[in-house]
């Protein structure tokens, strides 16, 4: 693996058993992602993109194949070792934000650093909230924030540990189109500042914002599309933005 490759999966296979039938969720998937990329993984329901995301996010492990993340083979790890990788290397952004309800924005953003026993958690969390434009909302609880603001807090939480990849699962799925575009803009800015971002989505409009789109179907990569670099959201295609 060279310098530029941040993440490399080889022959990744994952099976599920649902009732009596075996489902091949991932069928020998190969994928290389470079440092500083903004990549979309798309595909219809059941294509295996959730499975791939779970494995890329170290929430799950594959049955066979290898997964190198930032020079480390994580495919053989389990339990608390995976938790440590998630803590240091991965920042999650979810469709439904997944903030802890009774904590302030600042405390939510601090949390991954607390699990890493970092003593500068408060300072870093403040900086991350400033990056996402919420410096003035640090003491608000999630239910006092709008959807877009919640997702910004979630993004701040994802980037506060300076992870290898930010993994976003339908990040605009619960937002109206304008707010969704703002969030995509934020991802762009983070990407330009050097973050590697993977967005899992079934929305082609979202995928078009990413430099590269990997299309998944029946557990295989069926197509790879290069989009124009930094394709900005256009005001004329408002209606197709959000799901």
């Amino acid at each position: 693996m060279g310098q530029r490759e941040l993440l490399e999966i080889t022959n990744l296979t994952k099976r599920y058993r649902i009732g009596d039938t075996d489902v091949l969720a991932l069928d020998a998937v190969n994928l290389v992602i470079s440092r500083g990329e903004m990549l979309a993984i798309t595909g219809p329901s059941g294509s295996g993109k959730s499975t791939l995301m779970n494995i890329l996010g170290c929430l799950d492990t594959a049955d066979s194949g290898s997964y190198m993340l930032a020079g480390e083979d994580v495919s053989k790890l389990a339990g608390d070792q995976l938790a440590a990788i998630r803590n240091r290397r991965i920042g999650f952004v979810f469709q439904n934000f997944n903030l802890l309800p009774r904590l302030s924005a600042l405390e939510n953003v601090e949390l991954p650093l607390l699990y890493a026993s970092r003593h500068d958690a408060k300072t870093l969390a403040r900086a991350a909230l400033t990056t996402v434009g919420l410096a003035d909302r640090t003491h608000h609880e999630p239910n006092q924030l709008s959807g877009g603001q919640r997702q910004r807090v979630a993004i701040a939480r994802a980037l506060v540990t300076d992870p290898a990849i930010i993994l976003a699962d339908e990040p605009t799925g619960n937002l109206d189109s304008q707010v969704g575009r703002d969030i995509l803009d934020l991802f762009h800015r983070l990407n330009q500042a050097g973050s590697t971002i993977i967005i899992v989505t079934h929305d082609h409009e979202v995928a078009r914002h990413c430099g590269r789109e990997v299309q998944l179907r029946d557990g295989r990569i069926v197509a790879e599309v290069q989009h124009a670099p930094h394709c900005q959201p256009s005001t004329t295609k408002e209606t197709t933005a959000a799901a």
């Binding site: 998630r86 997944n98 009774r102 607390l114 699990y115 890493a116």
Partner: protein, 401 residues
């Protein structure tokens, strides 16, 4: 830092479910309060008994005939305790005072007044052995004993019942059918349950034996006082030797008397008191157990309700032990807060609840014990729910609605 955040989260989630938290804690509050109150009561009873035993004189030994406290020897094979025995015991080193004692339950009359009380025939040393003081008049003397004088020293309660507010000194009371001149009144010691040292009549043992009880040899017991606590066991052994010799017992014969020293009585009272306290505490402890089960129940509900939160925490890097610790801290907060309030309630209860003449007596060690037990209950009953939380699969937990 994570620790404080965890406590903050636990307190906030309790605040969000106030009624539930209070009801769960109530189980602990009642349990701990019951344990504290019962331990305090047992302890109070023990203290009362020990106080009573030690107020009946220091370093005393009592010798009873033939293992029987009440009836003098009836079977012919055993010798009764005699005045000769008492005199022999007086010669034993370290023995300060000896008094032969005969007792009977007899009616006492003066004027139109009447009471029934314990009649004690004894030597003048009896009041020294048992730490009685005379408040008016004086104790009868050895001469009175030699002369078989018809004199009596009465307890303050007896004086009250017979004479009311009048001065009893110099007046003549009738015990059974025999007349005695009152020469002294004792200082009150305070009633202790069923035994009342304030309602008794002391007579010279010679007079009591000849005029009242019609027996000339058999004593009910011999009371003695030893100069120092350290010599109690030595003197007890010497008494045993002397009495075996005097009663012509040979090797292999059982003692035909029974010696009880105050240290043993204190030890026994202590043991009985301790067992009583333990028993009460254990019964109360059952409610603590029920409180613990309540905590476990609520923690299981909490873990289920917060499945998604657990999923989020795991996704951002919480390890198993982080989740385990979080829920253990929560259950410990519930049990410790409940325990603290229970200690408060228990102290109040121990203060107000009285059982016969025993009142509760709380000691710091009980508070410490109760709090340790509640913390232990928090850990014990919180462990299973916490482990369930820690073992959740992050993907499924995140998907949980």
């Amino acid at each position: 830092m994570l620790f404080w955040t965890t406590i903050k989260i636990a307190l906030r989630s309790m605040l969000a479910n106030k009624l539930r938290a209070i009801l769960t804690m109530l189980g602990m509050i009642i349990g701990v309060a019951a344990v504290i109150a019962m331990l305090a009561l047992g302890n109070g009873a023990k203290k009362r008994i020990l106080g009573w035993v030690s107020r009946m004189g220091k370093n005393t030994i009592t010798i009873f005939p033939h293992n029987s406290k009440i009836a003098p020897v009836l079977n012919g094979s055993a010798d009764p305790l005699s005045l000769g025995d008492a005199r022999a015991i007086l010669k034993i080193p370290h023995v300060k005072y000896v008094s032969p004692v005969v007792t009977a339950w007899q009616p006492v009359k003066w004027g139109g007044n009447f009471t029934t009380c314990n009649i004690v025939g004894c030597a003048p040393t009896y009041i020294k052995i048992h730490d009685f003081k005379v408040q008016s008049g004086a104790m009868f003397t050895d001469y009175d004993c030699q002369d078989i004088a018809s004199v009596a020293v009465i307890g303050p309660e007896t004086a009250e019942r017979l004479f009311g507010s009048q001065d009893p000194i110099g007046r003549t009371i009738t015990v059974s059918t025999v007349r005695f001149k009152v020469v002294g009144v004792l200082v009150p010691k305070g009633r202790h349950g069923w035994f009342d040292p304030d309602n008794q009549v002391l007579l010279p043992y010679t007079t009591a034996m000849t005029d009242l009880m019609g027996r000339l040899v058999a004593l009910n017991h011999i009371d003695l006082q030893v100069d120092h606590a350290a010599n109690l066991n030595r003197v007890q052994a010497a008494c045993q030797r002397v009495l075996r010799l005097r009663h012509s017992l040979i090797y292999g014969d059982e003692d035909d008397f029974w010696i009880s020293n105050q240290l043993q009585v204190l030890k026994m009272a202590n043991r009985i008191g301790g067992a009583f306290t333990l028993f009460l505490g254990s019964v109360a402890g059952i409610s603590l157990l029920v409180g613990g089960i309540g905590i476990m129940n609520i923690m299981l509900v909490t873990v289920t309700e917060r499945t998604r939160e657990i999923g989020i925490r795991k996704a951002i890097g919480a390890r198993r032990r982080d989740i385990l610790r979080q829920f253990l801290i929560e259950s410990m907060i519930i049990s410790l807060l409940g325990g603290l309030m229970g200690v408060g309630a228990g102290i109040v209860a121990a203060h107000y609840v009285k059982f016969r003449s025993f009142s509760g007596h709380v000691e710091p060690s009980m508070v410490f014990l109760a709090l340790s037990i509640s913390a232990a209950i928090g850990i014990f009953f919180g462990y299973y729910p916490a482990r369930r939380a820690a073992a959740l699969n992050p993907i499924e937990a995140l998907r949980y609605e």
